[in-house]
Amino acid sequence: MKKMLNVVLPKGRLGEKVYDRLERAGYACPSIRDGSRKLVFENPEAGVRYFWVKPSDVAIYVERGVADIGVAGKDILLEYQPDVYELLDLGFGRCRMAVAAPVDFRDDPRRTLTVATKFTNIARTYYASKGRDIDIIHLNGSIEIAPILGLSDVIVDIVETGATLRENQLDVVETVVPISARLIANKAAYKFKREAIDDVVTRMAAQLEDSV
């Protein structure tokens, strides 16, 4: 019997875009388009089963082997450091992890910098590489408000167009790392479903080349 390939996708726009690409690559699962609220869909003929999960959980499903492959943003991979293979940069969902501060902010290197962020690991690693002493405040959302209200000096967050920053009188000070969607695979699954996984990588990579 053909082994099913378990694919975990992030809910939302990114996941839908990834599914479009996978559909075009020959991994269609028509029931996904039914508009149901189900979270698991499968197409035994194409040998594929899809799960929709919260974007920040994709890497966990892959690392723990529930899913063989998945698509996660590089921000999630850098933050949680899952032990997985990162097989392909899908080239979409492009944005950047950046340090932003109020437009009139002037950094004083003599004092500890207060940083508000959802991505504490990324922020800590970034400032450690610069030898800068920081005080991290972990927030779960609306990060932009932290420097406005004086909770922090700067924020480390994902910046797409920069519109939200501008509306809140914030500016990008430095880019930490560019972000895009990555195709990841469970290391053990790669041993036992390698042909199927390599096939997905090859077909997705071919689409990338076509779109260049």
Partner: protein, 373 residues
């Protein structure tokens, strides 16, 4: 001993111990505690650098052991021409990546320390492959040789502080970031292409070795490739050809490891369940002249896979009431037990207990009330 008394993980541990004993490895027993200093000096060698410490009555700082290999090396002796072969089955205490909390983890493994030759390498790899077979029929042993990538980075003139990032990309099979990083450090496109090719290379030894031999940059220093080839040939001849693969994503810290490194996978486990390699560099750091190779089987990663099929908790639940005397009840229980059944005597039907048969003691008679297939 009745085999059904043992849990699946216990059966596996016994099978592994029996296997290592058969090849002349003797059991290494150690105390739960070790001086903290031993781990501080080699912190990066440990999977997790969180260690449980406490002060002994004499003021010495001790640690609940997070690792067994360091203790074995500490107690090994450098005797030319001699190879010390030991296996262990010990609990270690470390933080698991998933829970971020300390766990007691059962670890089974072996170490071969001394004048390591080609046979020692073969024997340890062969025992690693057999260990995987003890766990599951379907296993894969990924083998790599650190000397191949190490040699390339040396010849390409990559600074030692840049190598960690390259090792990391190779370990993730991350060719796109490898290319970006090589560009950042000014490595030529030609050299980058060689590193990318090596990152993508994995599969059956004959196929991978043939490709390696076609790579002039790799073959400038052919010794590691030939050592790998010799080892794979021996493993194939030993009957392990169907389960070995060469994969350069098996990377280990090159400050401790050198030469052959390997990881074992079994179908159904989400992570590698076995990991090992040659660690002559760790031996040097600990003041030893001899070489060493070993591996560990991570029983915690097998927990879900080796879960027992609980089926029934007990064969027969025997209900009794106030009319039953102790002697009649005892006789009924003993009779059932003598038939090889497990029996639980209860006044009422117990909840949350799965039983094959529910019976009641009426006088001297055992009446069957319910039987589950």
């Amino acid at each position: 001993m009745n085999q059904t008394t043992l849990r699946n993980d216990e059966k596996t541990i016994f099978a592994l111990r029996e296997l290592y004993r058969k090849y002349g490895y003797s059991q290494y027993k150690m105390s739960k505690f070790e001086e903290y200093e031993l781990y501080v000096r080699n912190k990066d060698f440990l999977i997790s650098d969180n260690i449980i410490t406490f002060t002994d009555t004499n003021g010495k700082l001790l640690a609940l052991k997070p690792d067994v290999t360091l203790s074995i090396i500490k107690n090994s002796q450098d005797t030319p021409g001699v190879v010390q072969k030991v296996y262990y089955n010990e609990n270690v205490y470390r933080v698991s990546s998933g829970t971020h909390a300390f766990n007691e983890i059962m670890q089974v493994g072996l170490e071969c320390i001394g004048d390591i030759d080609a046979y020692c390498l073969y024997e340890v790899l062969c025992l690693a492959a057999q260990s995987l077979r003890c766990i599951r029929e379907n296993g894969v042993l990924d083998i790599s040789h650190l000397g191949i990538l190490d040699g390339l980075l040396e010849r390409f003139g990559v600074e030692s502080h840049d190598r960690k990032e390259i090792w990391c990309c190779v370990g993730e099979k991350n060719r796109h970031e490898l290319a970006a990083f090589c560009k950042q450090i000014g490595l030529s496109e030609e050299k980058t292409a060689v590193l990318q090719q090596l990152t993508a290379l994995s599969g059956r030894p004959d196929m991978v070795l043939a490709q390696l031999r076609q790579m002039p940059a790799v073959m400038e220093s052919p010794e590691p490739v030939e050592e790998l080839a010799q080892l794979c040939d021996a493993l194939q001849a030993g009957g392990y050809g169907d389960m070995i693969e060469i994969d350069f994503s098996v990377v280990s810290d090159s400050r401790y490891y050198n030469g052959v490194v390997f990881k074992g996978f079994v179908e159904g486990a989400a992570d590698s369940v076995l990991s090992g390699g040659q660690y002559d560099r760790l031996m040097r750091r600990m003041g030893r002249r001899s070489g060493a190779i070993g591996f560990a089987v991570y029983m915690d990663r097998l927990q879900r896979l080796l879960q027992d099929d609980r089926g029934y908790d007990v064969d027969t639940v025997l209900l009794y009431d106030d009319m039953a005397s102790v002697s009649t009840l005892q006789t009924a229980v003993a009779d059932l037990a003598a038939q090889g059944r497990t029996v639980m005597a209860q006044r009422q039907r117990p909840e949350k207990i799965a039983y094959r048969c529910l019976a009641r003691l009426c006088g001297n008679e055992v009446q069957i009330l319910e039987e589950n297939a």
